[in-house]
């Protein structure tokens, strides 16, 4: 019985991690941390969109900028869809828009990695909306 419970716990953490990577903030929403999830979704998604608005989708380059691409992929695996469209080299971008776009998109990925780890930790420690409500009553 205990073994099954451990497995459920591990499965929950894995599901939370996958959800948090698929859609930024979804991992938190899944463990009933709705406010946190919505804030994370808005912040990470807007940062990523700002990056591709500044430098165009050409900043996601799986061929010539592989290390940056790994960082960008941390935002969501859906970034690979843009990567498959740009790897042909039709959206080449240079100079500052390129640099700024790459920095914005990769930082969005880095921030989402922080959120994935945070959601996993919260799932592991059993934190959720209930704890928040209890504390809200104390204040």
């Amino acid at each position: 019985m205990a073994k099954r419970s451990d497995m459920d716990h591990s499965l929950l953490i894995v599901v939370v991690a996958i959800l948090a990577w698929l859609i930024p903030g979804a991992g938190h929403i899944f463990i009933k941390e709705r406010k946190r999830g919505i804030i994370i979704f808005a912040a990470v998604t807007l940062t990523f969109l700002a990056g591709i608005y500044i430098g165009s989708i050409g900043v996601i380059d799986p061929v010539n900028s592989r290390p940056w691409y790994f960082g960008q992929m941390l935002t969501s695996p859906l970034v690979a869809i843009i990567g498959s469209a740009t790897k042909s080299g039709d959206y080449i971008v240079y100079a500052r828009p390129h640099d700024y776009g790459q920095i914005y998109t990769a930082v969005a990925g880095g921030l989402n990695l922080l959120c994935i780890l945070n959601a996993m930790y919260m799932a592991h420690s059993g934190r959720g909306q209930l704890i928040g409500e209890e504390e809200e009553e104390d204040v």
Binding site: K35, R36, I39, I40, A43, V44, L46, T47, A50, I52, Y53, I54, G55, S56, I57, G58, Y91, V93, A95, R96, P97, H98, Y100, G101, I103, Y104, V107, A108, L111, L114, C115, N118, I131, G132, E135, E136, V139
Partner: protein
């Protein structure tokens, strides 16, 4: 439909960013984003007002430090290249 196509098209061409000091202003939206996400993960419970206050304090702190780092590097480069 036309608006949707226009919005999508704006993501296929880069915007113009000059090589003047105003280009550095692009760091502030990024700092705001970092402050928001960091505080969203660090705060035990999200109370809107307290959250906003802490984000503003962190954003201001990071902005001041980045500006000081920029000034310091500017003087370092000036000394090294003079």
């Amino acid at each position: 439909m036309y608006n949707m196509v226009t919005i999508l098209a704006s993501f296929t061409a880069p915007i113009h960013i000059g090589t003047n000091p105003t280009a550095m202003l692009w760091m502030f939206p990024l700092l705001a984003s970092v402050a928001i996400v960091y505080k969203a993960t660090r705060m035990r419970v999200i109370f809107p007002l307290r959250f906003a206050k802490e984000v503003i304090i962190l954003f201001a702190t990071m902005s001041i430090l980045m500006i000081l780092a920029g000034i310091g590097l500017y003087f370092l480069v000036t000394i090294l290249t003079s």
